[in-house]
Structure formats: C-alpha cells, structure tokens
C-alpha cells in the first residue's frame, strides 16, 4: 500500500537541496563568549564607544539569564563557549558591481537561486546580501537614496546614521529581553538597517538573504526597520544554509518601528538546513522579532513561511501602542523528519480600537512536531480592541504532532477576542482523487499543501509567493507512487 507512510518515508529521504559549502577564506574569531570577544568584534568593526558599551550591557544580561524551560520539547545543551562569534569573508573589499565579487560566492548564490542578478533587479528587488556576517553587495541603493530611503547593512548605519541607530536600537527588543536577545545584543555580527522617511512609500520590495556558511559560527543578525510617519515599506528576508553536521545556533533580533500612519510588512521565507532524517545536524533558529505600532493608525504585518531548521523557536510580535493600530501575523510552518517548530505570535493591545489578526497554518510530516503558541493581551486602556485568531494544523501521516497553546489575557471587557482552531489530515482519499484526474502523488501533495496554506501565501509579495510555493512543494516532495 503506497499510503501515507510511504509518502512520508519518501519525504524523509528527500535530501536537503541546498546542502553545499562555499570554499572562501574566512576571518574567524577564536571561540568563546567573554568581554574580550565582544571587544574584538567591536574593534573589528571600528564601532563607536556607545555601541561597545551597549554590547557589554548585553553580555551582562546574558550572564544573568537562564535558558527557557517552558517549551514542550527537549532543548539540546548549547555550549556558548564553543561557538565562534565573528566570521567575515577575508577579502574585505567593497564592490560597485557584481563582476568584482568572488565568482565562487556568486556561484553559490546562483545555486540558491538568489535573485542578485539582472532579472530580479528588473523585477524591482533591491538585494542586500549578508554572507555570514558582512554584507558584500548592495544594489539599487542610488534609487532609494533619491527618496531619502536608507537601506544598508547595520554596520554602515552605525557609521553613517548613528543618531537613528542610537535612538532605536534595543527600543523594541531590549538587551535584557531574553537570553538569546541578550546574546545577540552582545555579539551581533551585522544585519540590515532600513529607514523610510515621512510620507514616503518605498517603491520596491526590500530584500535580504542571510546565509550561514562557516562551521561552528553562530549567526547573530540584527535588523532594525523604522517607518517614519505616513510611510510604507515591504521587506523580505529569505535564507538557506549549506549542509553541516554540527548544529549551528542562530539567534537573530528584528526590531520594527512604525510611527503614526506608517505601515511595515515583513515577510520571511526560512529554509535553513533542517538536519538529516535522523535529526542529526541542522540549525537552531531562536529568533526574537518584535514590532511596535508606536503612532496612531499604524500597521505591522508579519508573514512567515518556515520550512527549515532543526528547531525553530520564534514569536514575531506586535505592540499595538497607538490608537487604531493593526497587527497581523500570517504563518506557515512545516516540520518533517525530526524537526521541531514552536512558533506563534504575541499581540499586545495597548491603544484604543487596536486590531490584530492571526492566521497560523502548521504542517507536520514524518515525526515533525509543530506547536502554535500565541498570546493575545488586552490592556486596561485598550477599549474596543479586537483579535481574530485562526490556527490550523495539517498532519501527514500518524507519527507527527500538532499542538496549540493559545493564551488570552484581557483586562478590558469591551474587547472581543475570537479563536478558531482545526486539525486535519492529508488523506489517501484526497491523493487518490487527484491521481484519478491524472495528477501524480507528488504534485497532489503539493496542490493540497499550497491550497491549505493559500491564505498565508497570498500575503507574500507576488514573486516570493511563487518561490514559497515551490519551496513548500520541494520540502514535502516525495509521494512518487
């Protein structure tokens, strides 16, 4: 019987498509986390004194924090002293055009299908590539500059726009927020910085591809996006990583700030190495993402498609501080083999008439475990706040699991909070029905999955929606009958 189990086994046997290693000389810091390492990183980057001090505060916070214990999976022991906290390609030149870039690096991007080429440029994508820690290429900068938009690496922002960085860094995710945020504050390598001036609508999707490459280097990106009054920006973060045996820790921080009438749309396609079918290797993806709708009528929308990593642990959240603000969270999380995803969102309603909408779609195959964990908090002043949560789980086979942990805390009785949840299975019947119309099982699973995730995929910018669809299909491929 080529039933679900066989389909799952095929999925399980599907090798990670992007598992290759680029051979480029790297400049790596000695392993270990202590004041010397932090000073080394800061000095390497020629950072100002205030940033070094902030890093050191992060290090202090880190020392005081413990690893969380509330999760419903076993957290593997992480030896923070074995990790190297800085890696940069040795050729530290700045490039004006692509043909100056290391061809092997370009070949890597090519294999990944990273749109650093003309085609994508024509499609209106400005790409800020982060190769391990240092950004090596930036396109479309000039055009954005004309509008007063700042889109650069975090390091460059520190040099060129210190007042903005100083004002906002850590304002949404403080260095003391949690152990991984503290780690990031202390040791963050690089990342992206975006500032959209008052009243400007960013005319293109801003996009960054992160990639982990060097063995045993943690990746600690820091992203800061500020949308000034009445502005709009859509930002996409996509990532894949080469195959590695040893687990790699990724503890990124993303902070979004939307001022009055501003809107930020942040989309993620995460496809890091999930480990092999026995759960060996794979990325630990422990990310703190939070946005604040600071001004009235502002809006922040998170969309994520999570298919990779051994453990994904993240809760993109929105603080709805202003009146009439809107927070959204759209998520598709896929787990297969021994992958674990514990993800969801937190919506903090503080302003009056604030709205939030949560659409979470979990897909589990193999022995994958998928948890939705969400918090909707309504403050005492948040009159007429509204939340709608829809939380669906799709199971492929009977060895996987889906769990939901919705928490609601309301201190205002004019608030309305709605929660809906469903669990369904991809049935043999559905696959057979599609087979009977000439569609093979592999395509059938892809159709069903994409149908299931449609509401979320529809939130992605057009060209990325197509990529995400493909990624979902590739990830769950394997029902060849």
């Amino acid at each position: 019987m080529a039933n679900d189990n066989e389909i799952i086994d095929n999925i399980a046997n599907k090798e990670y498509e992007f598992g290759f290693v680029t051979d480029i000389e790297m400049d790596v810091a000695p392993a270990g986390l202590n004041e010397d390492t932090i000073r080394y990183i800061s000095a390497k980057k020629n950072e100002p004194e205030w940033l070094l001090e902030w890093r050191l505060k992060g290090l202090q916070s880190f020392g005081k924090q413990k690893l969380p214990e509330w999760q419903n999976f076993e957290l593997p022991a992480i030896d923070f002293q074995k990790i190297s906290y800085y890696a940069a390609p040795k050729s530290k030149k700045k490039y004006d055009s692509l043909d100056q870039v290391d061809p092997e690096l370009l070949a890597t991007f090519e294999k990944l299908g990273i749109p650093l080429n003309e085609q994508k440029a024509l499609a209106g994508v400005a790409v800020d590539v982060v190769f391990d820690s240092v950004s090596v290429a930036t396109t479309y900068k000039e055009k954005l500059k004309e509008l007063g938009i700042i889109f650069c690496s975090f390091g460059e922002a520190v040099r060129e726009h210190p007042e903005l960085v100083k004002k906002y860094v850590g304002s949404v995710v403080p260095h003391s927020d949690n152990i991984f945020a503290a780690l990031n504050a202390a040791a963050f390598s690089d990342g992206s910085f975006v500032y959209i001036p008052k009243g400007v609508r960013c005319p293109m999707e801003l996009s960054t591809y992160f990639r982990i490459n060097t063995e045993n280097t943690g990746q600690f990106e820091r992203t800061l996006i500020i949308a000034d009054e009445g502005s709009y920006v859509s930002y996409l973060e996509g990532c894949t990583a080469p195959m590695r045996d040893e687990n790699q820790l990724h503890a990124a921080v993303v902070e979004l700030i939307a001022l009055e009438n501003a809107e930020i749309k942040y989309s993620t396609v995460q496809n890091w190495y999930p480990g092999d079918k026995d759960g060996k290797g794979g990325i630990y993806n422990f990310v703190t993402k939070r946005g604040i709708c600071k001004g009235a009528n502002s809006k922040i929308s998170w969309t994520q498609v999570e298919t990779g990593s051994a453990i994904t642990w993240k809760y993109p959240s929105v603080i709805l501080q202003g009146d009439n603000t809107t927070g959204e969270f759209y998520s598709v999380a896929v787990t297969k083999n021994k992958q674990i995803a514990d993800t969801g969102t937190k919506m903090y309603h503080i302003g009056k008439n604030s709205r939030s909408r949560i659409i979470s779609k979990g897909i589990s195959a193999g022995q994958g475990q998928n948890s939705y964990r969400g918090l909707v908090q309504i403050g005492s002043k948040a009159d007429d706040a509204r939340n709608f949560t829809q939380c669906d789980s799709l199971l492929i086979g009977d060895r996987c699991g889906a769990h939901t942990f919705p928490y609601i805390e309301s201190k205002n009785n004019t608030a309305m909070v709605e929660h809906e949840a469903t669990t369904s299975k991809i049935g043999e019947d559905q696959i057979f029905y599609l087979n009977q119309r000439g569609i093979d099982s592999e395509k059938a699973v892809a159709l069903i999955i994409n149908g299931y995730a449609k509401e979320v995929l529809n939130q992605l910018p057009m060209e990325f929606a197509v990529e995400a669809q493909k990624l979902l299909s590739i990830t769950l491929e394997g029902s060849v009958g």
Binding site: M1, A2, N3, S424, G427, E428, D429, Q430, F432, Y433, L434, N435, Q436, R437, G438, I439, D440, S441, K443, L447, I448, N450, G451, Y452, A453, K454, E455, G481
Partner: protein
C-alpha cells in the same frame, strides 16, 4: 476498448469481486445495477487503481494495454475517468486550477502542447455551457462546501473537460434533483460519441430513460449474473433482485 476477464479482487482480506467478466466497446453505454454491497463501487475502484484493492486473479485490458499494470494517474492519462460516488473535498485548491493541472498532465502524457490561459478559459466556458455548470462553482475550492448535487455535477464538468475515452459514473444520479438529473443526462448524451464509452452504475431505472444504455448488467456478489438490454432495467425496477439471488444460489 475494455475487456475484463475473470476478475477477482479483495479489500482488507475480504473477497469482493469473484470472477467478473465484462467487455465494453467504443461507442457503447453499459449500465451496471445491483444490490447494495454487491461490489459495483469496488469494480470502479479496481479499474481506477485504488491502492487498497488487491487483484488476486484475472485481467483487465484497456485499449490493448494491461490496465492493472498502471498506476492510478497513468490510467487517468490513458483515458479512464471515474465520477466518484462520494467526491472528495480539497480546501484551498481552486476547482479551475486543479482542472488546469489535471488537463496539463493529461495533455503532456499524450504529447499535446499545454493550453495557454486563454485557450483553457475558452475550453472551460464551452464545457460549462455544455453541462450547464454554475460559473460560480468553477472558482471555488474543489468541492469544499459544495452541496451533494453540486459535487456530482462537478464530476460531470470535470469529465467534460478531460474528455476521457472510458467514463465510469458511480451513482452520479443519486443526490441530483429532477432538473439536475435531466441536465446531467443531457450533458452525458452530448459527450457520447463513437470513440468513447460509458459505464453507468445506478440504482434507478429513471436515469436510464435519459441516458439510454446499450446493455444493462446485474452485478451480484462480485459477479455479473445477468446481462440484457434496457428492458432488463425495467424488469429489475418491477421485481427487485430477489429472483436473481435465488437463481444464483440455485446454480451454486
């Protein structure tokens, strides 16, 4: 077109088909009747290649090829279509996109070029008209929330779109209102040609007044125990199946 010889099949270790013979030529319409649990849907499932049915004996030749050797999607691409007794719902997958995928696969298998968006829409409109299918249902999720009758009509719409050579309709008439029955029958009659054939599984003689069959068979206990022309359906309507059951047990 289709030759079934001495077909034995079991499901979950239970013998359902017990030596079934049937020959269907191009241009013919065969009706299959028989009591509940006789094995009619099982026959359809075996022909379509449902995995949990195991053929233990016999053979099925479809257009000169061994049908039982093929996987379900290959059978479909070769031209076998099953209108399900209970069509499945697939949330989020739009009816029209599903059909576009299906038609694309079938055409690719037959080395035909893919239809472009315009050609496909045109074809879809034409077929909607032919089987009087509600345009609103075309863009909805596949069968999701469709009424029982709407699901059945969607099966016929798909049939019209995919133009199979052998169509098996498993109780397509049950659940249809009087008007829908007429419309669906009209559609099937328009689709009938010298090149294709239909196997129509039904409990009701009424359908056979609209779609006039060339042959009527009675399937009982995993075998075809009686074959005749459309008059047989009338006789069954009148007498039920008991007289055949008695005859059958007498011969054993």
């Amino acid at each position: 077109m289709l030759i079934i010889k001495n077909l034995h099949a079991q499901v979950e270790g239970k013998q359902i088909l017990k030596g079934l013979n049937l020959t269907v030529n191009a241009g013919e319409v065969h009706a299959i009747m028989g009591p509940n649990g006789a094995g009619k849907s099982s026959l359809a499932s075996v022909l379509a290649g449902r995995e949990n049915y195991e053929v233990t004996e016999g053979e099925v030749i479809f257009e000169g090829k061994d049908l039982l050797e093929m996987n379900p999607e290959t059978r479909a691409r070769e031209g076998v279509f099953l209108a399900f007794q209970y069509p499945i719902e697939i949330p989020g997958v739009s009816n029209i996109n599903f059909l576009k995928t299906a038609l694309g696969e079938i055409r690719a298998y037959r080395n035909l070029p893919a239809l472009d968006a315009k050609e496909f829409l045109q074809l879809s409109r034409e077929k909607q008209k032919l089987v009087e299918f509600d345009a609103k249902l075309v863009n909805r999720s596949l069968n999701e929330g469709f009424s029982g009758g709407e699901k059945k009509r969607n099966e016929i719409f798909q049939l019209a779109m995919l133009e199979p050579s052998l169509s098996i309709l498993d109780e397509t008439d049950s659940g249809l209102d009087i008007d829908a029955l007429r419309i669906v029958s009209k559609g099937v009659n328009k689709l009938r040609s010298e090149k294709n054939a239909f196997i129509i599984i039904t409990h009701y003689q009424r359908l056979l007044e609209y779609i006039v069959p060339d042959f009527v068979h009675v399937l009982y206990d995993g075998r075809i125990v009686k074959s005749g022309t459309k008059e047989l359906a009338l006789e069954l309507e009148e007498k039920g199946y008991d007289w055949l059951k008695e005859k059958e047990s007498a011969t054993v």
